[in-house]
Amino acid sequence: MNNPLIWPVAVPLLSALLALLWPRRSTWIGLLGSALSLAAVVLVSRQVIESGAIELALGGWSPGLGIALRADGLSVLMLLMSTLVSMAVAVYASVYFSRSERRSEFWVLWLLLITALHALFLSGDLFNLYVTLELLGLSAVVLACLGGSRESLQAALNYLVLGLLASMAFLIGVALIYAGYGTLDMAALAAAIESGPTAWVALSLMTGGLLIKSALFPLHFWLPPAHSNAPAPVSAVLSALVVKAAVYLILRLWLALFDEVVTQTAALVLGLLGGVAVLWGSWVALQAERLKLMAAYSTVAQVGYLFLFLPLLAALPEGTTRDVALGALVLLALTHGFAKSAFFLAAGVIMQRAGHDRIAELGGTARALPVTAFTLALAGVALIGLPPSGSFLAKWQLLSSVFITGQWIWLPVIAVGTLLAGAYTFRLLGYAFAPGEGVGPSLSVGREEIPAVLLALAATLLLGFWASVVWELVPISAYAGGGG
């Protein structure tokens, strides 16, 4: 009982099964399950903060033969993000899906998605990661097509096929690793892997697969249709969490397992792609005519920022400066998670009220839905990277790493990306705060508006003023190989 690592996986899974068995009470089971998952994650986090990384050898078999779950600073941060975001989105969804006849299926799949995320963040075994990736992908696909429109189905189908291809690439990498090193346990691999053809090819295959899943330019093309056509709560978790899961895995692989294999050139290539993603994604977001499409392209850009860190991390010597940069990366990911989910929820509220999400016709939103307009503004602040949001601190450290490493090339990318983000955010706010009749009047603050604004506040205030927790947690590593 004193090792709590299984609970963040077991609790949502058990709730999912219960929700499947008692469909009429699924909403309550879903909310309760999300809340209890949150409690489980808090339990794990407390233990990690108090006593460092923890490991659970499942079935009592030594890791290697058996599977180990591991929690360290990075995974705890990701867990906290996913559970907090999903809790808030669950509250929103309880209103959004209250009349839907697919309500019970939504909750089951929702809880399965949380299970998959938690399992992924805790897994310490490469093949197990493949299974969690597949679970994540399949449940995300099904959730994405709950809207039922033709576009959403088509987008979900493309997402599924690409996701499968990506998983296959990951899996063949796993096969090569097993061939070369004879184990799947990540801690053992972190110590064993050394530079060589096996590690090289395996890393590039696995990274390739994960790049598809994390939608790095030019592999981003599936993301905007899938994220913008899904029901709002689903879009929120897809953009905020599911994409992050792939980025998390890339970080794990690059920093912990393959840290001796990664070369500056490889990191530079990914950084360049990230840079293009920042510019391209922001530019298209600026042209977007629909709110949700804009948010989706903004996700493409934000993912690009995360990859900008890779060449910097590769250039920094192991130690405090690198941990600071890594912490900034994680903080940026977390802030984006909270902000983007808030953004999508707000977009969902607007869509339900106005019946559309065409940006040019959003006049009057601020008057009809002041709280939602405020949410959009706050989330926008976090997307641009203005204070007091967490992304401001992250960008500060990003710039700082640029100066330390002397990789000046990223400076214009960051600058232009920030200005473009400002442009698309304030373009939206300009329409939303303009007078008009685009959105019908609301009688009071709806229950569904509150989770969104809380998420946005978390992104701007919580992660701004209490961000140092991130930097305290990040150096706690379960893998000997590196600082991640």
Partner: protein
């Protein structure tokens, strides 16, 4: 040229040839049929590589059920969206180049690892611990004991997929009453399949077989029933169906958690009990897998799927 390698080379060549034919046939039906043949050939390869468990599973799942699903998908497809937006020649060239380079790289790495100093993989450890695992079939030991957590999550994957099928689609139209010959066959075949499934399940502890093979066989029985005009394909409706779907994951999870609560780790069976516990889990898993596969074949939810809600609603109204 070593003559003993000839059969292997032949098999490998046939696999590649068949795959090429599958992937390059313009006629979909032909592609699917060839794919089934490909699966069967693969089953032979598994047998050749001393993987009988896989041979069984491939024949049942890879060739059999995948084939059935693909064929029935052909039946309801008009093939309407045959958009042939051809890639440009340059793109095709680039893709071919990429494929060639990657194949060479992967092949090179495999060459290196196979001829390198033999790595001590998990084989010895897995076989050495077999006594403590409660079963004597090493594959079952890995699946349901050493790496039981993988299997648990895999059952969840099945559950998620079948829920997706239920959400997206409605049940396909049933088949009409078959002729006497087929009818006779069904009467023979279904009981035989069920018995075989039970046998595979039981034998899995010490010989090739296990929950997946058994589940697939059972599902095959369901498919045969549906082809014979029994539209429900042997599945219950409403709440019972939900229980059936949940059973595999649920039993697995609860037993695992039970271990945790009673003081061990998650899924850490007491050694004396592990054999029976594994069997219990396998029985439940077989039922769930079979139900899921049959549902996938049926193509979606029936009117009975939401019946649970209706009943509850009626109760609410009457009270």
């Amino acid at each position: 040229m070593n003559l003993t390698l000839l059969p292997d080379l032949l098999l490998a060549g046939m696999l590649i040839g068949l795959a090429w034919a599958v992937l390059n046939s313009d006629d979909l039906r032909r592609g699917v049929v060839l794919f089934i043949a490909f699966g069967l050939l693969l089953a032979i390869v598994w047998a050749r590589l001393l993987a009988p468990d896989l041979a069984l599973a491939e024949a049942a799942i890879g060739a059999g059920l995948s084939g059935a699903l693909l064929l029935v998908a052909l039946r309801d497809g008009s093939g309407g969206d045959q958009r042939s937006a051809k890639r440009s020649t340059l793109n095709r060239w680039l893709i071919d180049l990429f494929v060639l380079v990657m194949t060479c790289l992967i092949g090179w790495v495999l060459w290196l690892t196979i001829y390198a100093e033999p790595v001590e993989r998990l084989a010895q450890l897995a076989n050495a611990m077999l006594e403590r695992s409660g079963v004597s079939n090493p594959v079952t030991a890995v699946l349901l004991n050493y790496r039981a957590y993988d299997t648990l999550l895999e059952l969840v994957v099945v559950l998620a997929a079948v829920l997706g099928v239920l959400v997206v689609g409605r049940e396909r139209r049933g088949y009409r009453e078959p002729g006497p010959v087929f009818h006779g066959l069904v009467h023979w075949l279904v009981p035989l399949l069920i018995v075989t499934a039970g046998y595979l399940l039981w034998v899995g502890a010490h010989a090739p077989g296990g929950a997946f093979q058994a589940g697939a066989t059972l599902a095959a029985a369901g498919i045969v029933l549906r082809l014979a005009g029994y539209d429900a394909a042997g599945l219950p409706d409403g709440r019972l169906l939900r229980w059936l779907l949940v059973a595999g994951t649920g039993v697995f999870l609860l037993l695992g958690l039970g271990m945790t609560v009673s003081g061990g780790g998650f899924l850490q069976y007491p050694e004396a009990w592990s054999g029976s516990l594994i069997l219990v889990i396998e029985v439940a898993a077989t039922a769930s897998i079979a139900a899921a596969l049959v549902l996938a074949y049926r193509g979606g939810r029936s009117d009975g799927w939401l019946l649970v809600d209706e009943k509850d609603k009626n109760r609410e109204i009457s009270s």
